[in-house]
Subunit: 302 residues, 2 copies
């Protein structure tokens, strides 16, 4: 079985990661983090969310961040946009990609936004149309695709269905997320295969959480299927909102360590990512959650 | 590719794990831990080491532990035996299996015990002969098979060679250890394949460390080869002696979570393992190092 020779890592720490941090992180720290990440070689960084600051105060600095970063040519800086108002703000902030989202779990959709999956995706139609009109990349993010805190199992047909809806909205890339980190490798392959059935594999990505320590095994299993885009978060930024004290996003350093060992090209310098992780962990006043990051930092110590 | 339908987990926390803990753990705590683990369903528990208490003070209680545990019929309680004196002590303590050891790295062997790999294995001949005479199971443990802190890469031929030497001593089971946790999945497969070339696969085990977060991916990759025995340590007991602050043994709870998700039978109850991990972590006064363990404990909290 041949693995992909190249993989794109979407670094989600500055948005998806920090959004789950309680401590307010000032714009200048976020800017320094994003700039360290682009310097390390990431081609795609999730940097902002244009959402109501009432709901997500941590993201209130999104415009400042987008204005303050040193744009590196070729890098895609993504922003979450829940509605047309968010899209307009992302446009004004010169986001290269906007991200819309939905769930693969009916129970999750109903509990979180009081509507069905189909209704929630349909609500993004104006955002999708506007993105196309302005020639901005559109990403669809699908949560709880591997399991749901409310309904438990999520049918594979539901995954294919929501991927098809995202595809029909014109998404350029779609990520399949294990929001609560419950997937194990063969189930991960089954879910990714259900997504592949509805969308071109080269534009599909896996967003795995390390809540139960399974993320790298799931990424390896997804590589075996041919998936070549993965999300990860520097220093493992972002806890799991459904289990206090538990881990959330898989750490970028751990993913890179594996990809490097597998001989897969990412264009990213692991040492610089370790530096970026140490930078933000120091700001947050704690040890980073990346095992590879911590081991490499320990090796550097005299 | 079919995975094994049954897997044996060798729980090494009470010996390999605790040996690396600085705080002295009294015999009664070790006994309670071993008994919790046998009750959880492990068929093989590394419980003792009959080594010089001058060198490894934590293991000075080994006889007390072996005398104090509630032997569960069918469970193999293993003991590390560096020499004939250790073997005699293990015999007196009624160990079901004795463990001899060697390295796959010449540099590691020279730096640690001032002799070649071949010489170090040959020194175990009297122990191996005595084990056979007394009808006691003999396990060979091969360290630094995936990488060495001194020489870096370890040739695959060196792995096959030391496995063959252990086989010729009459080992019933041989474990291949990633002492410094540097393996990634395809390299893990190559090393395990080199071992399979010299020893029956059904008696070979993988001992992976999570120093760089790679252990579960390596275990999954080894399952794909057909390896069906793995070592792990409850609550991830045992740091990595080569990188302070870094993780050592892969946590049993994480391994079990994956095997359960893969539908692989282990005969072990994950909830009881989580309890055992919470018990020893509480004694050590810290949070356990198992991600699945911590997530499951967080879910239990009201």
């Amino acid at each position: 079985m041949n693995l992909p020779t190249q993989v794109k890592i979407v670094e989600v720490g500055p948005r998806d990661g920090l959004q789950n941090e309680k401590e307010d992180v000032p714009a200048e720290v976020k800017i320094a983090l994003v700039d360290r990440l682009s310097a390390a070689g990431f081609a795609n960084i999730e940097a902002a969310a244009f959402v109501s600051p009432k709901w997500v105060p941590q993201m209130a600095t999104s415009r400042q961040v987008m204005d303050g970063i040193a744009r590196k040519p070729g890098v895609i800086y993504s922003a979450l946009t829940p509605n047309l108002q968010g899209f307009e703000a992302a446009l004004a902030a010169r986001a290269d990609e906007v991200v819309i989202f939905g769930s693969a779990s009916e129970a999750f959709s109903q509990r979180n936004i009081n509507c069905s999956i189909a209704e929630s995706i349909a609500r993004f139609e104006p955002v999708a149309r506007a993105a196309k009109e302005h020639g901005i990349r559109l990403r669809g993010s699908i949560s709880t695709a591997f399991g749901c805190p409310y309904q438990g199992e999520v049918p594979l047909a539901a995954v294919s269905d929501v991927v098809a809806r995202m595809r029909d909205l014109g998404c350029d890339e779609i990520d399949i997320a294990d929001t609560i980190g419950v997937a194990t490798p063969r189930h991960a392959q089954a879910v990714m295969a259900a997504a592949i059935a509805a969308f071109p594999i080269e534009r599909l990505s896996g967003h795995f959480h390390d809540t139960y320590g399974q993320a790298l095994a799931n990424i390896y299993a997804s590589l075996e299927l041919g998936i070549a885009i993965f999300h990860s978060s520097v220093a493992g930024l972002g806890g799991c909102p459904y289990a206090k004290g538990a881990t959330g996003n898989v750490a970028t350093e751990d993913v890179l360590y594996m990809l490097n060992g597998l001989g897969i090209d990412t264009g990213i310098d692991l040492d610089q990512v370790v530096d970026a992780g140490a930078y933000i962990s120091q700001f947050l006043g704690r040890k980073g959650a990346s095992r590879a990051g911590n081991a490499l930092l320990a090796k550097r110590a005299p």
